[in-house]
Amino acid sequence: MWKTLRPYAMVAPAVLIFALFFIYPIFYMIYLSFFDWNFVSPTKDFVGVDNFTVLSGDSEFQKVMWNSLFYMLFTVTLTISLSLLLALWLNKKARIYGFIQGAVFSPHIISLVSVAMLWMWLMDTDHGLLNWALGLVGISPVQWLSSPDTALWSLVLVAVWKGVGFNALVFIAGLQSIPKDMYEAAALDESGPVRTFVKITLPMLSPTVFFLTIINMIGSFQVFESIAIMTQGGPINSTNTLVFYIYQYGFRFFKIGYASAAGVILLVLIAILTIVYFKLMERRVHYR
């Protein structure tokens, strides 16, 4: 009797936590998205898909979606391309390269709070180090976080600075798993470095590129800390993105149904990316 029950008892605590704090909330959020509720009132008003229709017609939300897309597109392409270049450069055995890899990686383990505040200080329009350095080469001060034209770009810059090291190390891991004899064969054929890169390195690295693209996309849709600390969504909503928007509507305006509807949209985005990721993984398994 105990023998049949034992495995269930062993997985129960973990499964209970997952069910209670991850699975159930997803369904509860979907449920709430069909209601109008301000958290305090004892009754929730069923409004059907009204929250979604209002959302889709709201120019502020359209701006938020556009910002999220813009942030995602530039953060991901810049992070992936720069980290690939870094990886090709830093993928060497000598000890000094290990040290440099560590230095590049270090921002990844630092709290986003500190990273955000540090860059806020660097990007200070009047007293920041960045504008002083630009001044040395004759460039007039940039408004960084205080102008709607540059604020979102500034956040992209910070995200790329923080993320490039992690991505470069994942690429290095990928590079090291490419069989050496492929390169030896290429050398025998007198294949040039560009040709070798296009014909061998890039195809062998493509699963890593897909993996990193997807997880960076998912990660970029979750951006919150840098916005909450550096810009609060401003100036004039130029840096307001999905999670911060949900946070605002849930915790400042107490429009729970409306915030949940925006949450459902985020859920759909993440679900699509996850499905794409698994489809790609499946394909990869088939080819082997």
Binding site: M10, I17, F21, S111, L112, D126, L169, I218, A228, I246
Partner: protein
């Protein structure tokens, strides 16, 4: 030819120094600012070594709020999460790796699905849930949702699977209970995975700002990142020197750990993420 080679090496060397500076300079600037007077933070051209070393900035930052409380809460939350994770992960990973039972596939799939659900997606419903449990603004709201880890279960299961079956049969012949097998065989053989995961988990939750921000409303359950973010909200402009001193309190412990356990930490964040 030799000259070209040397020039190439020189360019490469300069490039490498620039790369390191690009990632290290901001941190050095943080350190430099943290020991300056407020006046010197806005002096141009900037000085890297302060004229007057303001070590008091650290005590000023620390005393500007209940920082001992924040610090203790951070420790309680990060360690509490880790303890809960080990208690729930180890038996689950063992059952998934070593037993056959009805519904195993379902439970494992449910576990893996949670890997794709970020905290930023479900904070609103979990907030309402915690509110109905009466757990808002307590450390429980910060610990319980992370009391297990799908990622950890996955890693441990892989590791437990690699232990040869003969070893377990021999132990069972000696009448060892399953508990003993886990403690005496599985755990020691999975030590690298356990260390890797512990570092990953501790650093992640030590640094976290989002979840405590959403789940707490008073200082009684707030953690260090929140306390430090609050330093920014002073009247009459930001005192960058105090703010950077506060951030040093948050950053330095992690950087020290990173310095000593660099290889483990990089493996924890990178290599385990890939496989």
């Amino acid at each position: 030819m030799k000259a070209i080679k040397w020039v190439g090496k020189g360019v490469n060397g300069i490039g490498l120094v620039l790369v390191v500076l690009l990632f290290a300079l901001p941190f050095l600037w943080m350190m430099s600012t943290s020991v300056k007077t407020l006046g010197e933070t806005i002096t141009f051209p900037p000085t890297w070594l302060p004229e007057v070393w303001m070590w008091e900035n650290f005590t000023t930052a620390w005393n500007s709020g209940p920082f001992l409380k924040y610090f203790m809460n951070s420790i309680i939350v990060a360690v509490g999460i880790l303890v809960f994770q080990f208690l729930t992960m180890i038996p689950a990973a063992y059952a998934f790796a070593r037993y056959e039972f009805k519904g195993k596939g379902f439970f494992f799939a449910l576990t893996m699905v949670t890997l794709m659900i970020p905290a930023q997606l479900i904070f609103l419903p979990v907030y309402l849930q915690m509110s109905s449990f009466g757990l808002l603004d307590t450390v429980w709201a910060l610990i319980l949702p992370f009391g297990s880890s799908a990622f950890g279960i996955f890693l441990l299961r892989q590791s437990f699977k690699q232990v040869p079956e003969e070893l377990l049969e021999a132990a069972r012949l000696d009448q060892a209970s399953e508990w003993k097998i886990i403690l005496r065989i599985m755990m020691p053989m999975s030590k690298p995975v356990l260390i890797t995961f512990a570092l990953f988990s501790f650093i992640t939750h030590w640094n976290d700002y989002f979840w405590p921000l959403v789940m707490t409303t008073s200082d009684s359950a707030r953690t260090l990142p929140l306390g430090i973010a609050k330093l920014k909200e002073v009247e009459g402009g930001v005192a960058w020197n105090i703010l950077m001193a506060g951030n040093m309190i948050l950053v330095v412990p992690i950087l020290i750990v990173f310095f000593f356990a660099q290889r483990h930490i990089i493996r924890a964040f990178v290599y385990t993420g890939v496989k």
